[in-house]
Subunit: 325 residues, 2 copies
């Protein structure tokens, strides 16, 4: 406590842009989220109105924190975000198409340095600095949300790849000629099965091809999601359990392939689907092990992020700021 | 030339252990293979007789190079070789089962420090130091031989993973419930299709399920391999072309998944199958691109190693020695 009075401490803004909503917070160096909020991403047809609203909702928080002078910079996690160029490119889960120079646009608006990376990379940094991956040098972060994202850490470093786009595990093909992904036009990718949309599609398909009674038959199709499937499953609903088993089968296979690629100490899962706990984790673990060759078996941990969901990505994004020059 | 008389220069031994044969050489710091030779791996039922023969065949070369005093150490590339522990573990393509402390055993025999890694990692180091990957920080090396191996370089470093076993791309599952791999008991792995054995199996299957005449029908089954398929294909044999198309389809899909994982600048292919040139490269490239999401399309190079096949892995293995403490 002798080093710095709290009022003089430099702070960082972390901003996590998801396909549905955007979360933001002002964070100190110890990973305390001092102020935070959220807003819709989806309703903004243009990135300009999105940035305008972000500025409006963040400005009072910045004032509460002592003004722009105390903020070192802004870290942003966004789907298909590129660490090297500060752009988001062809993001299937965002309303804005093409290549968008998001870091520069936010920087121009806020007059603060902005560092951007993809949302799962930001979450991986958050876990490494403040969460379940503290002390790990090799792990994979998987975010199971609107889409499926991933951040890969090897030798203690985030893998960005030659162009800044590494870690798109959600788009790897698990079932050739499998389910069509509306956003990418590719068939059989992990994201078509293990995302929020994917679980809904599996639920619809499972209900359609069976005559079995199910609590899920009372749920309107547009409300079918991992939460409603979870609620049915804990009451022992057979089809709901089948939906988790199938989702775990696909996810477990994709995780096995990822393990045989970079041999991580742990895979850290994050996002809505993980709330189903063992209902999704048990089949995922079982199918991962089933697909691993012997040298990899029974040594990779599958962990669920214990950071508050709203905090992990904000913390990770804010952590980008501390490395800004 | 003022620094060191060549006769005083320190040398390294590089040794590449494959499922069928083992290649070895004595290499200088500039990557010149001064002396080299090869021997059978397959015929040795025990690792002890293998090491004894290796000692017998290498000793005269060491004498020619000026004796043990000039050798800094031995670098070994071997399937399922572990950089951290110096062991080979459960290698499906080697005659010796279980966990074998190979580095220690060779060290005891030769009285020289030994560093071991998997064969594809060794080849990746060879390419990075002396071959097609010079100057690259993110690339993937794929060896298409008896098995399918891979070495992944990201941020300029080889990815070993938390346990030293990263880079087993050959065992990733491409077709769930696909072709059985005799060595691992897993179904549908890349190695079941894109290895020497895999191409032979595809050839047998293709010939069986078609009535089409083919030059390959004259080849005895135990001689069917990528070479005989190549020879038929360059004469326009329809089924031979189909076999390459199918192999390229599977390999291209696996490469697309690898690209979406670590986003390399290039994939460098190495090994027997690459001798078919465009017959295998064209379908591989086409199917890789087909499975990539937009941000990755048309920017990853697929290159064929231009190091002499016998040299690349020896050079890579020898390069391990220069980092020995």
């Amino acid at each position: 406590m002798a080093n710095a009075a709290p009022s003089l401490e430099t702070l960082a803004i972390g901003c996590d842009i998801g396909g549905t909503g955007t979360k933001f917070g002002i964070v100190d160096r110890n990973g305390n989220v001092l102020f935070s909020g959220e807003m819709s991403t989806k309703k903004h047809k243009t990135v300009e109105t999105f940035i305008n609203e972000l500025y409006e909702v963040l400005s009072p928080l910045i004032n509460n924190a002592g003004g722009t002078g105390r903020i070192k910079g802004i870290g942003v996690g966004a789907p298909n975000g590129n660490f090297y160029t500060g752009t988001i490119e062809y993001a299937p889960n965002l309303p804005w198409k093409g290549v968008i120079p998001l870091a520069r646009m936010i920087q121009d608006k806020f007059k603060l340095p902005v560092t951007l990376t993809n949302d799962a990379n930001a979450a991986a940094i958050g876990e490494m600095m403040y969460g379940a991956a503290q002390g790990m040098k090799d792990f994979i972060m998987i975010t199971l949300g609107t889409g499926v994202g991933s951040g890969i850490v090897a030798n203690g470093q985030l893998i960005y790849g030659h162009d800044g786009f590494a870690g798109e595990l959600g788009h790897t093909i698990v079932f050739p000629n499998g389910r069509m992904h509306e956003g990418t036009g590719k068939q059989g990718s992990l994201e078509s099965y293990a995302s929020a949309t994917g679980v809904t599609l599996t639920a619809i398909e499972t209900l359609e091809k069976s005559d079995e009674p199910s609590l899920l038959r009372a749920v309107p199709t547009d409300q079918l999601d991992s939460k409603s499937v979870f609620e049915a499953a804990i009451q022992g609903d057979k089809l709901a359990l089948e939906i988790f088993e199938y989702t775990g089968k696909v996810l477990g296979l994709a995780l096995a392939n990822a393990v045989m690629f970079s041999s991580p100490e742990a895979i850290i899962l994050f996002g809505g689907l993980t709330k189903a706990g063992d209902l999704i984790l048990k089949p995922t673990r079982a199918h991962m092990e089933e697909n691993l060759i012997q040298v990899f078996q029974n040594k990779v941990k599958i962990l669920v992020s214990h950071l508050r969901e709203s905090d992990a990505a904000i913390l990770g994004a804010s952590a980008l700021v501390w490395d800004q020059k």
